[in-house]
Symmetry: C2
Subunit: 110 residues, 2 copies
Amino acid sequence: MGVTKSDLFTETQNELANYAKVLAHPARIAIIQFLLKTNTCCNSTLVEDLGLAQATISQHLKELKNVGIIQGTVEGVSVNYCINPEKWHYIKKMLSDLFDGYDPTYCSNC
Amino acid sequence: MGVTKSDLFTETQNELANYAKVLAHPARIAIIQFLLKTNTCCNSTLVEDLGLAQATISQHLKELKNVGIIQGTVEGVSVNYCINPEKWHYIKKMLSDLFDGYDPTYCSNC
DNA sequence: TATTTTTATCGTAATATTGCAATGTAATAT
DNA sequence: ATATTACATTGCAATATTACGATAAAAATA
């Protein structure tokens, strides 16, 4: 049906899935990596750098902002985007908690 | 269009996005967490545990298997799934490389 | 004021994802 | 041989995502 049955899952499961979803597009990964390098960027810079249309970049930025991984501050005509440090570390922790939860020494059949 | 312009991005960006995509559904997170707890599971166990239809679980398992995060071994009538340790650590490293790439002390405007 | 620059939003088309009933398949049990 | 059990696959409907042109809004500039 295309609609996820969120009510079947825990809050953590839905939350993790939502964070993963925002990372699940190369353009958004590229935007994040760009920010890791330059610390700040605006829509027009990304349009040049990524080669996607302005409306498309704007949409990706919106999704990143919606989950809180980036934040934007109006700077005259343009908007400066940067990583939200608190959210960044929160997501980082959720993911490492998940990935640290596996100990292969307990596995007998693989 | 619904189609990602993969050719605009680096291999790493596409790869990261693909791994994120497979984590971008609470059912698949739930399956992984189930495996972290029990180390092994089969389709029917998950159908009981998650409350999704057998065909749906089968589809989610297929996606997890396609990116290599889990592997299945036929055990008589049923199929035992478990985490693929190499892939697990590979994905874990890719994600931590991304998330370790941020140093808030360099950021002046947030 | 008119123009330019930058971004957001709307509308739309193409494609992808989610979920499940129905059906197919393969191994085991009766 | 037939039935049962466990999964995979197919086909379909509903919804979500991706991409972008067109347009709107808001600030800076001529």
